[in-house]
Symmetry: C2
């Protein structure tokens, strides 16, 4: 049996604690070998029926990035209009996207039409395919942080418009748009918490039945 | 900056490689302290707007477990009817649920009605709350494996019926039903692959735009 030491487990929790949703990036390029090491996490990720439904689009061209950026800017403005007063100012100051500075952009999709895995486990809960992609992204996120790379998950987007702009298959649903790069600062407290937006629960509550 | 060594990163990928969806459990109880250490991963997990929408129900009573088991058994029989010949036999032989042996059962939900996080990031993509729960479950999964515990994610279920049977709020959506315990065997190859159901892709494909 492959065992893991107490020291390793402690460091794993340190990694979880220092993982952050990063919005402020250095413009410095990411070493391609480091990126490849992180992306390997996808090949080790769980997926329903072993369907491996993740589809990764590396958004390199200025034209494609400009479309994603405009999508975020317009959707963000609409979102902002829903918050009043200090909350809205807080919200605006969060600078939610590091889209201008991050050297690597990935649009990650779920292929809901894949036949890989023969539909096992996705019949009654078809969302399991999308959940598989989220699990893979989470492993990738940990791998990035362990390499000193920051990842920012952009979800304030019109997903249908982005899929259309990027020309992907109609079967693909957007899981997220991800900015990747070296962070300008490190912190073990989420930016939203530092900005006074929200606090973490003091303890995890479990109910029993 | 909190750095992580090459050795740690190598072991992190070892952990990812040895993480498995476990279906065969010893009936031995799990030490409560070990379970609590693993559950702490939820308190370090990412969530959209810091909404922490995970809701964890520990299913201990025989009555509640029997309802979950019947739900799986009936849904599984329906799923089985969709596969013909050898595929179906394979499917039946996978023994998809360790529900009878696993000492700990958790039903994990997403509270789609939570006001925590003020809706940030979940306006255009409300599924982000559910994705947050999946991310948290993924961290929990790694923590469990690092403790020598196996986790099995049951998704062949009628989610609405289970939610009703367990009496949870109408705002909660089921993310999964999880069996937890010490595995009867260890393997670094998924059971579905060993059973010939499906194979992993040889390499991760990236497209560029």
């Amino acid at each position: 049996m492959r065992g893991f030491s107490r020291d390793f487990r402690d460091e794993l929790f340190e990694l979880m604690k220092w993982r952050r949703d990063v919005r402020h990036f250095k413009t410095a390029a990411i070493e391609e070998a480091a990126l490849a090491r992180c992306l390997h996490a996808f090949s080790l990720a769980p997926s329903v029926g072993l369907s491996e439904p993740w589809r990764i689009l590396r958004v390199d061209s200025q034209a494609a990035r400009a479309k994603a950026r405009a999508n975020f800017a317009e959707t963000n403005a609409e979102a902002l209009a829903q918050y009043a007063g200090d909350t809205a100012e807080n919200y605006a100051s969060l600078k939610l996207a590091g889209m201008d500075d991050a050297p690597v952009h990935l649009a990650i999709f779920c292929d809901d039409g894949t036949t890989k895995g023969k539909g096992l486990g996705a019949g009654t809960m078809p969302e399991m395919r999308r959940y598989s992609v989220v699990s893979a992204v989470t492993l990738f996120w940990l791998a990035c942080r362990a390499e000193g790379l920051g990842l920012g998950w952009v979800s304030i987007l019109d997903a249908d418009r982005l899929s259309s702009d990027l020309g992907v298959s109609a079967d693909w649903s957007l899981i997220g748009y991800f900015c990747l790069g070296y962070p300008t600062q490190e912190d073990d407290t989420p930016e939203l918490e530092r900005a006074g937006w929200e606090t973490r629960a003091e303890a995890l509550e479990l109910q029993k039945v």
